[in-house]
């Protein structure tokens, strides 16, 4: 088996759009099933009331990571043909802080806002209008901020390369971290569950 199939020419650009649509349906279905069409469910993460965002995200990361590295190890997937978004360290640090703050203020992240609109959340529609406005602002400002926005460009960079560790060991450490995180999530939820809004003014 030669994968990624698209990179080996098993189907063309037009067909890839159908694949995109089908993968999107499955993606949206999973997000909604997890409860991520609800801003209250999503933002409960940031008050330690419901750590579903962390649990779902890290379970997904571990599942996809184990699957991909296994398929690469047995030679079915050529990992070098899987696109890894280039690292721009400082813009990504600042971008992450902005997106995280925007997440708890706005109630959704870009993908989950789409699912929320699909299930009738009017605030999600307003949220998407804001996202588009933000993209417009930064797109217009881009020429004047390229100095920062295109700084610390490190290209395709992975954690095994950063820490000079074998990829298998990093995969193992991520799994350990996730399991530790799942345990910690339960502890935090139990500690914060019974706090009324008044105790947390």
């Amino acid at each position: 088996m030669n994968a990624p199939f698209f990179k080996f020419g098993l189907f063309g650009d037009e067909a890839s759009l159908i694949v995109a649509f089908v993968i999107g349906i499955a993606f949206g279905f999973c997000l909604e099933q997890a409860g991520f069409g609800s801003a209250k469910k999503l933002t409960a993460q940031f008050y330690f009331r419901d750590m579903a965002v962390f649990r779902v995200m890290f379970t997904a990361i571990v599942t996809a990571m184990l699957g991909l590295f296994y398929l690469a190890a047995v030679g079915w997937v050529d990992l070098s043909l899987v696109y890894i978004s280039p690292t721009y360290l400082w813009p990504q640090v600042v971008g992450g802080l902005l997106l995280g703050a925007g997440f708890v203020i706005g109630g959704y992240c870009p993908g989950t806002s789409v699912v929320a609109v699909a299930t009738g959340k009017v605030d999600a529609l307003v949220n998407i209008a804001g996202i588009v406005a933000g993209i417009f602002v930064i797109g217009e400002a881009w020429p004047s901020i390229t100095g920062f926005a295109e700084s610390s460009a490190l290209g395709r960079l992975t954690l095994p390369e950063v820490f000079h560790l074998p990829p298998g060991l990093v995969v193992f450490l991520v799994v350990l971290m996730a399991i530790g995180g799942f345990w910690g999530a339960g502890v935090l939820e139990r500690r914060f569950a019974n706090r009324s809004p008044k105790e947390n003014p």
Partner: protein, 180 residues
């Protein structure tokens, strides 16, 4: 979407177990890696739509911009015939189907008891603006950077993901009246 659809009258089903939903999401992501050689995304589709809208209003401006012109060059013959645009339309359909099956499709505004609907809309918009800016600086959002980059062990993806949690927890206290 209408409030009197049969699905809306049924009490909504409970959400899926988070680990089960996570495995499902992980398998979708894995399928995307194996079939396409790329991960999932969301904010890129909004950017394509934004670039096309600007191009319709001010073509010279859009095509002269180093930022928008990149998105106008994308897609299979048309900037909206773009992978992420089709994927996000799928997300809309998939989210709707799941919501319909679970009896969760209902026109509503999500907010805590201590904020008005108008106040909620102001926060929803402001948060969106921050996310739009953040996602473009980071070259991706929670899906395109954190989820993909997390699974692919991307250095930038992991840095981004940790900062998303830091930013979320950092701003949470400030907007607690909106949710708690």
């Amino acid at each position: 979407m209408s409030a009197d659809s049969p699905a809306a009258r049924r009490p909504p089903a409970p959400y899926m177990n988070p680990y089960l939903a996570g495995i499902g999401l992980g398998l979708v992501l894995l399928a995307s890696f194996v079939v396409m050689g790329r991960g999932l995304g969301a904010s890129g589709a909004f950017t394509s739509a934004c670039a096309v809208a600007i191009d319709a209003v001010a073509p010279a401006h859009a095509q002269g911009s180093s930022f928008w012109s990149e998105y106008l060059k994308g897609g299979v013959g048309h900037p909206l015939k773009e992978w992420l645009v089709f994927e996000v339309v799928g997300v809309l359909v998939g989210g709707f189907l799941s919501g319909l099956l679970a009896g969760r499709v209902r026109r509503t505004v999500e907010k805590g008891p201590r904020i008005s609907t108008r106040g909620r809309f102001v926060f929803a918009f402001a948060g969106g603006v921050l996310m739009g800016i953040g996602a473009k600086l980071a070259r991706g959002c929670t899906s395109g950077q954190a989820l993909n980059g997390g699974a692919l062990l991307s250095a930038g993806g992991w840095a981004f993901m940790m900062m998303v949690f830091a930013g979320g927890y950092g701003a949470a206290w400030m907007v607690r009246r909106q949710w708690l």
